[in-house]
Symmetry: C2
Subunit: 207 residues, 2 copies
Amino acid sequence: MASEYIEPLERLADMFRRLDGVGKKTALRYAFSVLNFTEDEAREFADALVACKTEVVLCGECQNISTDEVCPICSSPNRDGSTVCVVEDPRAVYAIEKTRQFGGVYHVLHGTLSPMRGITPDRLKIKELLQRISKSMDEGQTEIKELILATNPTVEGEATAMYIAKLLTPLGVKVTRIANGVPVGGDLEYADEVTLRRAMEGRYTIG
Amino acid sequence: MASEYIEPLERLADMFRRLDGVGKKTALRYAFSVLNFTEDEAREFADALVACKTEVVLCGECQNISTDEVCPICSSPNRDGSTVCVVEDPRAVYAIEKTRQFGGVYHVLHGTLSPMRGITPDRLKIKELLQRISKSMDEGQTEIKELILATNPTVEGEATAMYIAKLLTPLGVKVTRIANGVPVGGDLEYADEVTLRRAMEGRYTIG
């Protein structure tokens, strides 16, 4: 007998390995966990996996993940469409929402510039941001007056913020950057709410 | 907007949390990973999950996980059915198979005794082991001559081994326990005192 596990188990472990940060041993542990599920639980899990792909789209406005064409934040009449907070990923949106301090809207870039990893501006939702600003200048639209660059305080996040600031300042939009209240080198997802609130309050003009 | 993620994402994260050792943050990270899958990949993952439940059964002989009613080890004519190695879980079977040294067969208990966690003998495959031994004494069957207790060298593993030994010795079966000692390639400095004591006790003559 080979020193391999049975095929269905190996196959499932291979799938778990595709998840962010899962190695071979962990993937096998997860596959063994599934063996202890009931068949109904496994099917429920399977359905949730497929639903996560089939039911989730990107909001046509802010590019955040959404189950609607336009997300609840963008379609809310209570949100101030003139202030747009630009973030790296959906997790940052939820982190900021948790502070209950920000009344504007968002724009999700889905990444940061990283020439080393081949992430060039066209790979991010920067074109969509430009289109959004340009559209906001049309008559009858809520004009975007301020862009808060809330990318992570990492090398890539700062570089991305600088890139966008240089791109947008000539358009006459006020571009601000969240303050270094967020610990440098950290990730918005893991910042506590008070720190995030301070960071929002302490934003400054760049570019 | 609530400080919750969109429903399909939360639902999938809840599923990941059911896996052994996965907390809330990790479950969410995994759910976000799935967002980066293609729909085909998600379906492949979903199919593998269900297959792991529908295609995997327990071998009628050794209780190891199998895709056949009787696993390849138990049905192999090259394995010695008179020596049965008793292990806690399928992972131990594969660990021992990797050594390519053991030519006998296995019996998988699927756990260890743990009164604290409510794991009593009837929750393990001990009844099946007794039936197997009793059946092996019938005419025309390969008689089980030795049972090697290879449960883990933990408190629960030792207690389980002791329990089975007491249960089986009266039946006239030779019951052995795998040796304790310093791991090959290890360093005495890092071996704990109990392990070292056992290694000293189990010393053998060389040369």
